[in-house]
Amino acid sequence: MRSVVAFALLLLVAVQQAVWADLPDGARLFAQNCAVCHGETGSGGIGVPLSLPSFQATVSNQYLAATIRHGRPGRVMPAFTQLSDAEVAAIVDYIRSWYKGAPPVFSGAPVKGDPVHGKELFAAHCAMCHGADGQGGTGTGVTFSRPRGLPIMPPALNNAGFLAAAPDAMIRSVLIHGRAGTPMISFLKAGLSETDIDDLVSYVRSFQGEEKAPAAGSVAGLKPVLVVQSPYDLKTTLANLTQAINSDNFFVGRDQPVEYGLTTTAKANPHQIIVYFCDVPFLNKALAIDPRVGLFLPCRITVVEHQGKVMLMSVNPEVVSRLFNNSELNALCKEMHDRYLAIMQEATL
């Protein structure tokens, strides 16, 4: 009996320690999930500079938590649906550790204003940064890898994630105080009245239900590979492919077996040849939209001879694009999808 009791007590101690050890560690969770885009110290990068005092002074904990939970559909920031409420709260606490002041708390009550007048004000004062429809700036955040015109990307105010996270009172506060260190000025100091600001808030809120960012992430229903069968033999198809690539304003870098570098040239499968190519201005445009597009690089189409059939194959850029949660990139990948298909069809005419 004594040994059973002792065992039970030991087990309870172990369980208690395990429970304590398992309490969410905000710093660790931030390093694992957030630091890659927001920087180790919240200085920003692909994502918003979270440690910026003027940012911290104008967002509530609830806004931060809702942003982590819902993300920004189509605007790179993913929805961290896998995190528990305790983990989200731990990350928020960690983000707050960079701020000396008390976190603001905002009422959830709607601000009453005139959205029609707000629309006029928006066009005059906000659209130049946030876009005519509140779609936000282009590209990602302050990526140091690329030249940038602005220290921070203007957020998409018509984004479902933003509208779900930001109460009217918070939007109002940002308009009144601005955000020092960013192009967002105080519109009260700039001459707008509090009534004007209420009208602006009312107009921004009217975006709700009309969000334009598509849901990103699922690849269901899309074919992962583009395939076009060739009526020619492998050698002829390869020559046709090179010609078709050149005529679509790409330059051909090289062709090599899929197994290049993994075995000797003699042993590499000669029936699977990758052709690498590039359109550098197009690449530069893609990198400006999302610096992570290396996944697509370099452009490539593979000529494969399998069971007597010669095929041209490539990744479907539209499928891979869904992983980026970047609707601007989706549009570019649609263009790339069409160019890949056009090249493959021309090579097999």
């Binding site: 999930n33 530069n284 992570r292």
Partner: protein, 157 residues
């Protein structure tokens, strides 16, 4: 005796539940920030790849190609790698996988730090739902995770 039995059983179940709790991750790309500058991070990445039994087949120099046309970019590379036997067997049986092979990880400079990014191999499960491929993708996923963890955790020179 009975309450003790239930106490021990409940505690054991709680321990099991805690041990099975998986680390949280957002869906999307696999990404990690290295505190190392690009040259050191690149070395760490290559060492981490080869430590998992892969051969690096080539390094795509992206920023050099941009520079040739006067576009500005910091250091940017794509590292290609694979295992010969695995790729040979897979591409013979599943040629539709070829466009996604060899495997690759992108690395670019971000100020004094570096960022690595890749398509998570687990994403291939949805694209190629053949159950026979699942262990392959899961194996790659574990390897990628280990590689990314090493890049994230390695500091200094």
């Amino acid at each position: 005796m009975k309450p003790l039995y239930w106490l021990i059983r409940a505690a054991a179940l709680l321990c099991l539940a805690l041990s099975l709790a998986a680390p949280a991750r957002a869906e999307g790309l696999l990404m990690a920030r290295s505190q190392q500058m690009f040259p050191e991070a690149m070395t760490t990445l290559q060492n981490a790849i080869t430590a998992r039994g892969y051969t690096i087949t080539r390094l795509q120099e992206v920023n050099e190609n941009l520079a040739k046309m006067h576009f500005k970019s910091d250091m940017y590379r794509v590292v290609f790698f694979g295992r010969y036997d695995q790729i040979d067997a897979l591409t013979r049986r599943y040629p539709e996988l070829i466009p996604y092979l060899p495997l690759s990880i992108t690395i670019f400079a971000e100020g004094n730090q570096s960022i690595v990014v890749a398509m998570p191999p687990r994403a291939l499960e949805e694209m190629f739902p053949d159950p026979a491929l699942r262990p392959v993708f899961e194996g790659w996923q574990r390897d990628y995770q280990a590689i990314f963890d090493r890049v994230r955790e390695t500091t200094g020179f």
